[in-house]
Symmetry: C3
Subunit: 335 residues, 3 copies
Amino acid sequence: MQFSAAELARRLDLAVHGDPDIRVSGVATLARATRASLGFLANPRYRPQLAETQAGIVVMGAADAEGYTGTALVATDPYVAFARAAALFEARVAPAPGIHASAAIDPAAVVHPGAQVGAFASIGARSVVESGAVLGPGCVVGEDCVVGADCELGARVTLVRRVRLGRRVLIHPGAVLGADGFGLAMDAGRWLKVPQLGGVVVGDDCEVGANTTIDRGALDDTVLEDDVRLDNQIQIGHNVHIGAHTAMAGCSAVAGSARIGRYCLIGGGAGVLGHLELCDRVIVTAMSLVTHSIREPGEYSSGTPLMDNRSWRKSAARFKQLDALARRLGALRDN
Amino acid sequence: MQFSAAELARRLDLAVHGDPDIRVSGVATLARATRASLGFLANPRYRPQLAETQAGIVVMGAADAEGYTGTALVATDPYVAFARAAALFEARVAPAPGIHASAAIDPAAVVHPGAQVGAFASIGARSVVESGAVLGPGCVVGEDCVVGADCELGARVTLVRRVRLGRRVLIHPGAVLGADGFGLAMDAGRWLKVPQLGGVVVGDDCEVGANTTIDRGALDDTVLEDDVRLDNQIQIGHNVHIGAHTAMAGCSAVAGSARIGRYCLIGGGAGVLGHLELCDRVIVTAMSLVTHSIREPGEYSSGTPLMDNRSWRKSAARFKQLDALARRLGALRDN
Amino acid sequence: MQFSAAELARRLDLAVHGDPDIRVSGVATLARATRASLGFLANPRYRPQLAETQAGIVVMGAADAEGYTGTALVATDPYVAFARAAALFEARVAPAPGIHASAAIDPAAVVHPGAQVGAFASIGARSVVESGAVLGPGCVVGEDCVVGADCELGARVTLVRRVRLGRRVLIHPGAVLGADGFGLAMDAGRWLKVPQLGGVVVGDDCEVGANTTIDRGALDDTVLEDDVRLDNQIQIGHNVHIGAHTAMAGCSAVAGSARIGRYCLIGGGAGVLGHLELCDRVIVTAMSLVTHSIREPGEYSSGTPLMDNRSWRKSAARFKQLDALARRLGALRDN
């Protein structure tokens, strides 16, 4: 697969600066690129590499292209343009419809002949797998689930029960959707389990990372609206509702019944306590804990900065004295 | 399945206020309930919904029932009463004893004829599965394990080796019990693996969440006493001991050889360092880190409050100066 | 299996103090040891147990051995010596070469006759499994992977695609290597997926914990050098590079394109933001967040100390006022 700069410009609707006939056969970072590579500059952190790169063609913004002597494809958003370019070079395997001979399909399940079901997959009663859907090896779909058209479930994905996926949902290996929410009531000194009678509803074009868990609701459903993007090892509690186009980074977690708006960005390892509401376009930085509802868009944080351990110990000791210190300061000022 | 208020009151030992003959066919939140639903009010956060709810019957406390004009079931603990009521409406599938034709059972394993073993499950040498136990599709039970009577293992649960489960233990999909503890010694510039010779012992009525991991002990066993409840994606290190009736929320973690008491509540994402001891009835709030042993029951926390990022940056910068600030304050006072 | 103190001393190159003929048949903690056990004292926390232990033989340092009246094996590093001793008592099952009848092997995959492939394992096109490698039940190896000689993959390990393991790599159940990195570009109000064209390269003698995830690179590979040790539930983002002999504790995470040096120790639940660089021999304490590159070896921390919740609330409230407090202090001083 080879493309000239002119062909790429046409396919991606970009302008060419430099040699329109130069051809590339793959994509690479600026640091590793050869003459036959398409590179890109999107993160200003890597701008110094532009002078040194061997890349035959580089996707970049107009400002960077101005002084550039090599061949550039000029984009309003170089990262978006690069993503589209990279997709041209990606070897996608078309689904091979059919059910692997080893798969265990309940007689009361319905698998569309245009779907692909891998080795050692199980599908439970009253579940439906629609056209173009792909279930990887070892997937387990329980009862009363729907896998929408063109969904792709990697190896060993589990939908426990009452999980309904929209179209083109991509789920990475080991993810578990629809397990019991963590509902317990203390009753005479022992835990009593609260039945989890709801399901999970996932909108179109969502992505769920490897080993991520999304519990089903206690009464109502747990809901991901369209185009929600979850990284690996995320935990979504029962009855959580996540608005469209929200993205969450790895190891973040949302406790039960919290409601997160649209176009939010939740940083890695961040947490949201139960029953809170976050409005649209909230950004939570990595490893912050959201302890109250947020009604204004913007960026929110908790935690302390990284320090060498010796200095940190001093600050940490003083943190314990903060209230006393503030009172002393107040007393001094009042003198 | 339909129940009248009078029948529910009788089965759950509650008092009826209002119409004893009104019938409901399901359970729902106050916000979504219809005339045919049983609702409940346990969290005061949802009290305002009581005036608006369409629920035919609502479980509530005596104080809330006083002014209520609809039909109420009055409970000392409305959440417990609701949990019991919801269980009446839950469609439980009885285990279907037998071993799926595809399962791979070691000749030296013993599976009780009253147990159910799902598709693509493996059971290793010298392991025992007792009566009424259910192993979901793709479960892997290694060598020298015991799955006690009436245990329920969801899809793809793995017991690596020397894992002994009591009775009625419920384990959700993807959990891994009995993997090697993380034991390493640095030896001449390379890591030397420390053999992990112990096992895992889980008491009766425990629950283990999806994708949670519990390592086996290095020498002695890792132990969960009876009625311990673990949410999803929890990590329990080797030789940890967790007391009866303790509950841990999602993504929390306990490092090796720590000992946690009975009736503790560990918040989501919280951590406990290795070799520490927590007495009974300790509460650790979400994302706190326990860095020393705790000898008094009570609630413990670390971290800082959530702030808008701009304000947080100012506080964070000052945190680094805390020791100097405190010294300056001391010097001022001494003047 | 029994060894006398003299035999152990000879095999492990240690000195005996006391009775060279005393025999032990297993290993144990000081607290649980019997006359037939070999114990050890490495962590000074457990020194008081030395006076009480029933252990027939104890591995310890020279200083502890001086006043000890029982039989001691004296080691420069008692923990290393104990690890070696314990390995003598460990019952290791030799791999039984061969492919389980149920396994699904792509015709274009190559499995060495000296490898062992467990029940319900899948191996994809153009993948190679080398001699002495063991794949546990339910493992899924996708396309274009290499499982090096003498690797051991526990149950349900998944290598998604383009994952190349060196020799003697040990991977615990549920780990997922080579899933898509989390690469997204916002394009006209919707997320556009960035193709993840790289792979994962894992050096010799690495260990990967249960349910840990390591994403494949976007363009270049994600890399673990030799002897990297990862505990359970760790998340490694795309294009991360981890230097040889680095160890990371459970639930820690490294975001995309970060570069971690050799001989680093990353504490449990700690996080490293994307694109940062950590030099060799950096220690990050538990649940700290690394927000800038680190160029000096040493120990680094963030967070606040654990406090009782009532006191913590006061300090936390003052943290929000820190900048104002510091300004007031400055004003006082300037008076």
